[in-house]
């Protein structure tokens, strides 16, 4: 093979390789990812009917835990589960109908207000929307 032909082939081949290694990421980038949208303002906390009355579910809201409660009379409530005392995770207590923090015995009512114990501030309440079989939680405007 003549030197010139070799150089041209070499050039063409490496050009193709480079183009492929640059185009491959771009093409993969353009293909829609699994999670269709950026972490939207609304999070799907649970499906309708998933929670029995007087029970709760802990879910991820942004980067913190949150509590979705289905009260004894069937109302949905959602709160930040980060205790306002020393940031332990609160849970729902069915028999008292209150939110309880086991770390220092902090207790919150179903409006998020502090009933007893050391927490200095109420729990942040979130907005709930039921749409298409999903229970969506978002921050209050």
């Amino acid at each position: 093979m003549k030197r010139r032909t070799f150089v041209n082939l070499f050039l063409g081949g490496s050009l193709l390789g480079t183009a492929a290694s640059l185009l491959y990421p771009v093409v993969r980038y353009l293909i829609p990812p699994r999670q269709a949208e950026a972490a939207a303002k609304k999070i799907v906390a649970a499906k309708v009917g998933e929670l029995a009355p007087n029970s709760a579910k802990l879910f991820k809201f942004g980067s913190s835990p949150a509590l979705l409660i289905n009260t004894a009379d069937g109302q949905l409530r959602a709160f930040s589960a980060v205790c306002t005392h020393l940031t332990c995770t609160v849970s729902y207590e069915g028999d008292t109908g209150t939110m309880y923090c086991p770390c220092h015995n902090g207790r919150f009512d179903l409006a998020g207000n502090v009933i007893s114990g050391p927490p200095p501030r109420p729990l942040e309440a979130y907005e709930i929307e039921v749409a298409g079989g999903d229970i969506l939680v978002s921050k209050k405007a």
Binding site: N8, F10, L11, L15, T18, S21, K60, C88, P102, H104
Partner: protein
Amino acid sequence: MKENREGSKKRTQSRLFSVFTLSLLLTLPFSLLGQKNSCLECHRELDEQSLRAPVDGFATDVHRQFGLGCQDCHGGNPLQDDVELAKDKSFRGAPGKAKVPEFCGSCHSNSEYMRRFNPNVRVDQLQTYWTSKHGELLRKGDTNVAVCTDCHGVHGIQASNFPKSSTFAWNIPETCGRCHSNQEVMKTYGIPVNQVSDYKQSVHATALFDKKDLSAPVCNDCHGNHGAAPPQVASIAFVCRQCHPSAGDLFTQSPHKAVFDELGISECEACHGNHKILAPTDEMLAGGSNDVCSQCHDAGTKPHETGVEMKRKLSDYVSAFQSAEDVLASAEKQGVEVSEPRFKLQEASTALILVRNLTHGLALADMEAKLAEGDKVISEVKTLGGAALKEARFRKTGLVIATVFIFLLALALYFKIRELQSKEKS
């Protein structure tokens, strides 16, 4: 006609004027009454500091804010400039130390009087005081003990919910410490003087002073304010349970409760101390460097061995937790985003807190069950972490491949350029 009306108008005006002037002159002395306070005026000018101090202090006193004056406690007539006339029959002067509680109590125990100012205020302070160690000793004639003024001050008294008050939460250790950290005062009673310095090293003090957490206990939360007395052995546990009920419940259900009660050992204090309560660590468990179990249980005995087993399970869990953390940290250092697995790991951290609390119940089975839950979370996190590390490797591999092609292309270009340049020359 017009003249009459003019004249009557003028007469009405002059009448009104006289009434006005007369009333002013008549009421003038009464208006001065409200302002006159001969006690303050006189004491302000005195040379002796101890007689002058009340004037300065009183300016910010809580009693003054409620409209009370010197005469309301000390009697006397503040309208009289002459000192003999001012110190009239009603003058009570300053009470001696032994009489102070009753002096203050004359108002503060009178519910009818106090509810004028604050219907909600307690009126049992004096009664409670007599049940305290301070009150007991005062009754026996010891005037070295604390009375109302020692803690609350004398003329610059602030409400206890005011941050500058000597009885506000974060000032209380200092207030109590004035006597209780003073070797000279305490040696008569044989009481140690390390309580305040011990307390200041405690986790409660850190919460109160550093985190400004006003729910953290200070001296009066465990010892009482007016009824201050060291809690009895039986009541220490109740005192701690005020804020730590879950640990307390677990302890009550454990075999320790019956034994401790029988032996008369104070529950929480035996392992955690009273004033110098430090943040508990796994080293307090059997076999650890700070082994509290060995206070009663010899090494090698069944109870001690169970404790050792608990510690072992806990440290295994902690290592597993740490290794999951390390995987995530390593992936993050290599540039991969790991906020999702991090959030999941929080659940494992919560499990750890709960298991450590379960040690009070001494039920190994319960601890193992909770640890198993946590282990599941940790393994999930490890899987996600492994995926993140794989992603990091993938990126590097991809970079190598792309770089190889680019270098080959660069080399090819170089050859091409050489070839073209040699062609140009010719």
